[in-house]
Structures are given as structure tokens and as C-alpha cells.
Amino acid sequence: MAKETLTEVIAVAETESAITKSKTSPLEWIAENGIFVFTALLILASVVFVDGFASLVNITDVFHRAAPIGIVAVGMTFVVISGNYLDLSVVAQVATSAVILIAVSNEYGLPLAMLAALLAAAVFGIVNGVAVGYFKANAVIVTLSTTYIGLGLLRYFSGGSIFFGPPDGLIREFGLGKLGPVPYSALVLLIMTIILGFVLNRTNFGFLVRSFGVNERATRLSGTNTAAVVIGAFLVTAVAAMVAGWVLAAFSNTAVSAMSQGYDFRALAAIIVGGTSVFGGKGSVLRTLVGVIFVSVLTNVLVLSGISFGYQQMALGALIVTAVTVDALSRKVAKR
């Protein structure tokens, strides 16, 4: 049956706009690559105008800020690109992994602790993934409920107490370790970015995550087990959150169920600032890394200039809105 519907009509429109896209408007260019430029500018400006910013110690601090949240963010990028908004439960995941690492390693040694943490991460990833991928339930609500459950269990079993690592253990050494001004934690972030970047761009799984984000139906009809893809995306996030938990625990050599508050939305903020679209499909792990750096540098600079917490929050909010506004406007321009 003939069906020259609006979609067909739009198709032509898209075709045209797409072809004219070859000569991109400046605004578009900014939307595409702006974050890199802005980050560079921000760093440059900070070096020039903010005393002490360029000092090695401070660079270390920036890295310390960036590392844990960054590791969470690069992982969560998978969930975002797969078009499932975000994983709220990273808050519970990071804390759980941190507590398990310290508490268990004190009793049964590090290897077992890591194994236990991995197990916990797997459970989180699979529960979230199955509920979203197989039951087609909304990711926001699913991960919201797993946050409740996860934190509840953690607090129940940890009794909310602080767990201390041994003053001189492997964990401690790692937490203090640095390569020049770069703390190991930041190296981990870097390595995670490289690995996950590779997974997202070069492996079948990463490819499927992206194509799922672009068009779920077409991906499924190509013979893909889409539920598995979603589960995979949540598993990657869970593992990243676990590593973040380890880094956080090592850094402070303590762990408590109340740590990592607000990591959910802060990680998402970094991802969005990096230019990854919450509609799925578009985005990259590298962008997330840059987004994290941008946010960390900004916070660092605000603290250095003695700005109070309230204003810091406002700045972050404003930043998010501007980032997406630029993106939205550029898309409008492209339509013309």
C-alpha cells in the first residue's frame, strides 16, 4: 500500500540537510567540538588568572577530583549511549564496592575482597540490565529502586560504620602512589578510558550498544539479542563503578556506606557536558573524559577562589544547561 507519509517527506528533507551538512555552520562546529575548545580555554584561563592553579600539587588535586567520578562516568557512558538515560544506582555501587574492598580485605585479604566486590557489581549490573533489557522497564525507575535496595542492604550489613584499611597495605600504597603529579587513581581513569573507548568503538559489543542507541528495532531485527546488549551496558557501568569504589577507598583508606553521595547526577552531568546525547547513539568515552576534566577543573578553580558551595552548585547547573542549549540550537540551525 502506498504510504508517502510525513516520515517519507521528512526523509527527503533529512537527505537534503544531510548533504548540505558537508559545509557545517560555526555553531554546529562548536556543538560538535566546542567542549574540547572550552576545556582548553578554561584551563588556559585558570593557568593565567588563578594563582596556584598551575602548581603540581593542585594538578594532583584536580586529578583526585576527576578520578573516581570520572571512572564512574566513562562506565555510565555505555548506558547513556544505549539510550537508557542513566544508572542512578552507581551511588550504591561505588559505596558497596568500597566497603567490601576494605572490610573484606581486612578479614580475608585483598584478592577475596576484590572477588566479592566483583560479584556485587555483577549482581547490580545483571539486575538492572535484566529489568531494563528484558522487561523493558524504564531505566530511571529501575536503577532508582536498585539504589534503594543496594544502599539498604549495604547499610544493614555494614551497620554504617567506617572501615579502615591497614595504615600500610597495598591499598594504602596505591592510594598514595603517584607518577609525577599524576596519582595512580588518575592513571586508572586514563586506562579505563582507553579500554572502554576501545570496547565502545572497536568491538562488536560496543558497536551494538551504539546501534541499539540509534535504532533499537533495526538492531533487534538484524538478529541481535538486544536484551543481552542492555545487560552488557549495565554490567560495564557496574564494573566501572566498582573500580571507582576501589579508587575512592584506596584514596582515603577508609570506606563508609555514606560515601559517593551524588555520584549519579554528577557523573551524568560530566557525560552531558562532554557532549554525549541522552537520546542515545551519539557520543564517546573520550568526550566523557573531557567533560569530567572540565567539571573538575571548574570546581577546583571555584574552590581556589574561595567560592562557597552554593555558588559552585549554581555554576554546575548553569554549565549543564548551556552545554545542551548550544547543542540544541546547533541542531536547529542544521535543520535549516
Binding site: 547499610r155 544493614y156 560504620s161 567506617i162 575512592l248 555514606a258 574552590v303 558551595f309
Partner: protein
């Protein structure tokens, strides 16, 4: 349509199952961790009459302090034949207010209240009085104007703790012109605010020669405090900083790590804090932390029960006029000299 109804049915059944499970959970609870509601068998052991008491706390075993606060409290309650129902509002003023309504409605013999937000509990107090239920305040006192509505208070004086820490700072500095940095608790949290003000105002009064160069929140968190401290050091310039204060030991531990990370020796700095916890006490002994203020969670928990017991047995009456209506927790200053003293053995 049929399937959807099946779906609903399953949902319902599972919900019921879940709810019943919860019932069990509450029962098993004391076994799992010795906190939460004590089961009646405890009170039975005491013979004598038993009292029903609601304890409205803003934290429970989701926080280190609460975790060590509860067991002594429950032990004492069992001993005095008090049947406790404990709630935890997670420092949400609205939630606690609602829990207060629940408690008043339950018409217990007494209410132990640990204000989540001192400014917001006036209505709760009035409701309790209207219902003739004695209220004993624990851990964080109410505002002066509300004190007459309570039977008494046992616990620390958060402002005083800040002040005490400041006094130690003044002694340490001993008249010298020094600059220090300040790490505060969770932004907007009332204990954080009180301790902060206590410290600041006492410094201003007793030793104006100490200048607070910068302050940032550390959110009761060691890792966040370390970064915040380090950044403040950068901001004001390490050379200008001779001291550091944090509103609790976890945070000062972070601050001390920040110094170490720069290859600085904490011993060269004037450092004071509050808590004398498992984290802080070793630092005092090692000499890195010059002084902290001991806060005993067990004292706090026990005396909350003692207090409400007095109120219920008429030893103390409405208002704060009669003696014994205010039990201030001894907040001994802990320094390297008495750090190993059993009387200040860390509890959390």
C-alpha cells in the same frame, strides 16, 4: 487484558509476600545487628512496669556514630524496662516531623528526640505537650526558646565542642600570629553549623591572633576533605598556613593526609578537631593531631534513656529549671597526654 490482570495479581501477591517478609525482618533484626527495635522479651526480664518510648533519631546504623549510639541505649532501656521504638529520619526535618506525629499518635509514655534540625522541632514539642507526653532531647539541644517545652537534655553541646576545639587551638598557638584553614561538615547540617560557629566565634574572642584564611565543606567525608583542604592550602599559599581545624576526626584525617601528600609534616602544624574516634585517636597518639574533643556515643545513648526515665518517673518535670534536667556530656579535650587514657577510649 487477561494477561495484564495476571500481571496485576502477581504484583499484588509479591507485594504481600514482601510486606510479610518485612515483618520477619523486623523480628530478626536484633539478631542481625544489635540495633533497631528491641523485642519485648528484654523488658519482660526487668519485672516492674514497662514503659513505651519512641526515640526519634536522625541517624541509626546508617552512620558510624548512630551505630555505636544505639546498642548502649537499647541495653540501658532493657535494664530500665523501657520498650523502645526507634525511628531514623536521615536528617530530613520533614520526615522527622512526620515521625513525631506518628509517635504522638501512638501515645507512648515518653519520647526521646534527637532533632534533625533544631529550628524545625517546635511543632513536634507542642504536639507532645498537648498530648501530655514528656520529651527528652538527646545529642543536639533545641533552641533556648524551645527548651521550656522539654523535660531536659542530655548530650553534647555542639557549639561548645567547636569552642573547646578553638580553645585548644588558642593554647597551641600561644599568642603567635598564625593563619589556619577550616573544614566544615555537610553544608546546611545543623551540627556542622553549630560546631563551625562555635569554633569561629571562640577564636575571634579568645585569640584574634589566629586568622581563618579559608573554609570549605568536607561533608563529613575523608576523601572530600583531603581534596578541599589541599585546594585551600593552594589557594591561600602553604607558607601562610600554620594550622588546621576540622569539624570531625574523619575530615581532619583527610586534612592531615593532604599535608602529608605535599611532603609536609603534620607535626609542624597546629591541628585540632572533634570526636576522638577510632580514626582520630591514633592520630593524636602519633602526634599528628594536636588535640581533639572526645564525644562518647555510648554516654549519649545511655543518658538519653536515663533522661526519659527520669521524666517518666517524675524525677524531672517540664522545663529546664530543676537540676538534673540538663546532663552535659563531658567533652574532655584529648591531647597526646591523655590520649591513651581509658576514660577517653574511642568508641566509633
Amino acid at each position: 487484558m487477561r494477561k495484564s490482570r495476571i500481571g496485576l495479581a502477581t504484583a499484588g501477591l509479591l507485594a504481600v509476600a514482601g510486606l510479610t517478609l518485612a515483618g520477619c525482618a523486623t523480628a530478626d533484626e536484633p539478631a542481625a545487628t544489635d540495633s533497631g527495635s528491641t523485642d519485648s522479651s528484654d523488658s519482660a526480664t526487668t519485672g516492674g512496669e514497662t514503659y513505651e518510648v519512641y526515640a526519634l533519631l536522625p541517624q541509626g546504623n546508617d552512620q558510624p556514630y548512630g551505630t555505636t549510639y544505639l546498642p548502649p541505649m537499647e541495653a540501658k532501656a532493657a535494664e530500665l524496662g523501657i520498650n523502645l521504638t526507634i525511628t531514623n529520619s536521615e536528617y530530613d526535618g520533614d520526615k522527622q516531623a512526620s515521625e513525631c506525629e506518628v509517635a504522638v499518635a501512638a501515645q507512648p509514655d515518653g519520647i526521646i528526640l534527637w532533632p534533625a534540625l533544631a529550628d524545625t522541632i517546635r511543632p513536634c514539642l507542642e504536639a507532645a505537650n498537648a498530648a501530655g507526653i514528656p520529651v527528652w532531647i538527646t545529642n543536639a539541644d533545641v533552641n533556648p526558646e524551645d527548651a521550656p517545652l522539654t523535660y531536659g537534655y542530655s548530650g553534647t553541646d555542639s557549639y561548645g565542642q567547636g569552642a573547646a576545639s578553638a580553645e585548644m587551638m588558642c593554647e597551641l598557638v600561644d599568642g603567635a600570629e598564625v593563619g589556619i584553614i577550616q573544614i566544615n561538615g555537610l553544608t546546611g547540617n545543623s551540627v556542622a553549623t553549630l560546631r563551625g560557629n562555635g569554633f569561629k566565634e571562640t577564636i575571634a574572642a579568645n585569640c584574634p591572633n589566629v586568622t581563618i584564611l579559608a573554609e570549605q565543606p568536607g561533608n563529613w567525608n575523608k576523601d572530600e576533605s583531603q581534596i578541599a583542604a589541599s585546594e585551600m592550602l593552594t589557594a591561600v599559599g602553604v607558607e601562610n598556613v600554620q594550622g588546621m581545624y576540622a569539624a570531625d576526626d574523619s575530615m581532619i584525617a583527610g586534612g592531615i593526609d593532604a599535608l602529608k601528600a605535599r611532603g609536609l609534616d603534620p607535626k609542624d602544624f597546629f591541628i585540632t578537631s572533634i570526636g576522638n574516634t577510632f580514626l582520630g585517636n591514633p592520630l593524636v597518639i602519633s602526634g599528628e593531631l594536636d588535640g581533639t574533643v572526645f564525644q562518647s556515643s555510648s554516654w549519649d545513648g545511655e543518658n538519653a534513656v536515663v533522661g526519659i526515665y527520669r521524666a517518666m518517673t517524675g524525677d524531672t518535670s517540664l522545663g529546664r529549671d530543676d537540676d538534673g534536667s540538663v546532663l552535659y556530656m563531658p567533652n574532655p579535650k584529648v591531647t597526646i597526654d591523655n590520649a591513651t587514657d581509658p576514660s577517653v577510649a574511642p568508641e566509633w
